[in-house]
């Protein structure tokens, strides 16, 4: 499954689509001869999921200026992958992301995918190992949703939450939280929320607001808590392969989170462009593989 095969010598005019129907958003990528020619994004929905996924797909086709009839293969991934009736094959999020990262960031030894719902870490084979992957435990599901809700609660958009890190050094892990730290530590700029559970984290964040801690400080604490959860999944790998770690998924767009994760884990992260489209790109590449 070499990346070059589809990226380079594809059949003339081969158009494929990849759909990543996540718990919150559906991302679509249209590939033509290995090059991305269209993208689409929209809410995945629930009771209207089929229509919403199709909508996002149509949006991407429009973006590409193509017609559905021209698409030779559609592969779907993501939590909603069973609800895209029009698509051909389904592949797992792990496979799709791996496939995309081979293309987006060749030479990656470890990928971290952190999205609205799930966190996946996949490390390439170390010495003699077979390569391994880890999922988040249920207790830390929904990190992206949590951050999105917190941003709303803090009257920020996700971009503002993301820019919080600028100029502020994340505290060292050891100092970060000695208790929920209300309000004394909060005053000292060490506001922290529970990093073990998003439900508790939310309660703590509300407590901080209740005690007059600034939304910016709460936002930082929330980003750090999310970073600790993702870091825990990274640490779950028995044979880490951290030479070149690539972060994709919706959370990759949150700079503050990315920096907090780097500080906590001590790992330098590479964030490719369009990181949130990784799953969709991987699915489109997989579609190209099978169409050839």
């Amino acid at each position: 499954m070499a990346a070059e095969r589809s990226a380079g010598a594809g059949g003339a005019g081969l158009v494929t689509a990849g759909i990543d129907a996540g718990i919150a958003y559906t991302k679509v990528v249209i590939l033509k001869d290995g090059a991305v020619v269209g993208r689409g994004i929209g809410p995945t929905g629930g009771v209207d999921r089929r229509e919403r996924i199709e909508e996002a797909y149509q949006r991407a086709l429009e973006d590409a200026g193509l017609d559905a009839g021209e698409v030779k293969g559609v592969v779907v991934t993501g939590k909603g992958k069973h609800d895209a009736g029009f698509a051909g094959k389904r592949i797992s999020e792990l496979l799709a992301t791996k496939r995309a990262v081979e293309r987006m960031s060749p030479g990656a030894t470890c990928l971290v995918s952190a999205g609205a719902d799930e966190t996946i870490v996949s490390a390439s084979a170390g010495e003699g190992g077979a390569g391994e992957y880890a999922f988040n435990q249920k207790c830390s599901a929904g990190l992206g949703l949590f951050l999105e809700y917190m941003a709303d609660r803090l009257s920020m958009d996700i971009g503002e939450l993301s820019s919080l890190a600028d100029g502020v050094a994340a505290p060292e892990a050891s100092q970060a939280a000695e208790g929920v730290a209300i309000p004394e530590a909060a005053k000292a700029g060490e506001a922290a929320v529970n990093e073990g559970c998003v439900v508790f984290a939310e309660l703590d964040a509300l407590s901080l607001l209740n005690h007059g801690v600034s939304p910016a400080d709460v936002g930082r604490a929330v980003n750090r808590a999310a970073a600790a959860r993702v870091s825990a999944v990274i640490n779950d790998i028995t044979y880490p392969s951290a030479d070149r770690v690539v972060l994709v998924g919706g959370l990759a767009k949150n700079n503050a989170f990315v920096r907090a994760l780097e500080t906590l884990s001590g790992i330098k992260l590479t964030v490719p462009d369009d990181a949130e489209y990784a799953g969709a790109l991987g699915a489109a590449l997989a579609a190209a593989d099978s169409a050839q």
């Binding site: 939590k79 592949i91 797992s92 999020e93 792990l94 496979l95 003699g128 190992g129 077979a130 391994e132 992957y133 999922f135 435990q137 249920k138 028995t238 044979y239």
Partner: protein
Amino acid sequence: MKNKQIWETRPLEFWDKAKELRARWQESSSDAKRVLGQGSTYDIDWAECFPAMNIVEDNPGGSMIQAKDSPYARKCRLASEIRGWGREICGYTNNLWGSMYLGYEQDGLPFPPRKFVVFMPAECDQHTKRGQQCRDFAPVPGWMSDCTIYLGEDDPVRDELFREHKVYCNFKQINDLERIFGQKFDDEKLSKMMDYSEEVIEYSRDIIMLMGRTIPSPLSVKDLYSVYTIGHLTKVDPEDTVNFWKMVRDEVQWRADNQIAAVGNERFRWVEAHPPSWHFLKYYRYMEKYGAVCLGSQYTAQNCGLLEYKPDGGIDRRVSMKYPKDTPIATREDALRMMLGPDPREPRAWKSDEYIRQDSIVEFADIMRADGALLPLWRGGVGCTLTRKEQAMRLRKAGLSVIYYEGSQPGDRTDLDEQRFLDQLDTWMESFGYEMLD
């Protein structure tokens, strides 16, 4: 990689007999409306030895409530919760004693009040405390024992003391029961049941080794689970039980000799660490579509003494109980000593020590020629969960692919996200490039 049928498969012939035995057990246990006591031990076969007392064991009760009637199980757990029990406490416990708190059983008939309880020795902390519920509920006599353990090399002095401690506990249980209830304990049965049990275990050992050493495996654990309890938790006539297990062993042997597969498209073999969620055994069949077969778990293969450590440090088929068969049994204590065996630290695979629980799964996987391991992470059971993460690390070091799934406990469906579990199985198989058989 699409897959297709490679080996011949055949329906299992012992299946009808198993159904018959189970039906017979059901029939006899429907008498259990007059249950007197709650026996909770691996050691003494209370039901056989105190025939008039109609003693039931608690483990199957709790798990069957969930498997048979989910809404009722939910009610049971709620009944426990609102009387002070943690929601993360073992589902077997909360199901079983929940029905006591509700006051009625699945079929609507009154919950038979227990007249006494014998606690299970403490392999798992939640077993240790499982007997007290009915004693706190209403004052009835109860007895307990200990799960004695130490780390490191065998220590004869400690062995001796621990053994005598356990003998004393069992001895007191029996004597007190006789004294209080005026029933005679059948000492002969005690020895006889040990023999029967050893015979059944002998056949089980054969079966496990045949599954491990044969490709394709003649039997999957899915099949094994449907007969697994016969003779252990599902009590029927001892001789019938032994004959049944001989029948199973013979058939498995024949299948192995003739390359009859449990899963015709077998191409991936995996082991587990613990019982599955009893209400959701479907995932075995789901995995079969990928050509994946499960060969058992530490639970099926090690806890009942099927395998043992050899002097060279490896793990292999257990020869037999180490106590010589011709040791004279003059007294009840002798019989109990004999029953407990020479190693008072057993069963160690349950109660973790510094290496057994973590390492032995690697050896087990090796015997089973497994490619991967699926480890359940049971939130609601300390004994169910201890060391799982370390097991995964060691299995990975041995080159196996390991995944987990999370749930409450084998007898509690609450937190098993079935769809997420199946998605993760898909991911697992896809990571090997396997596709489902259409």
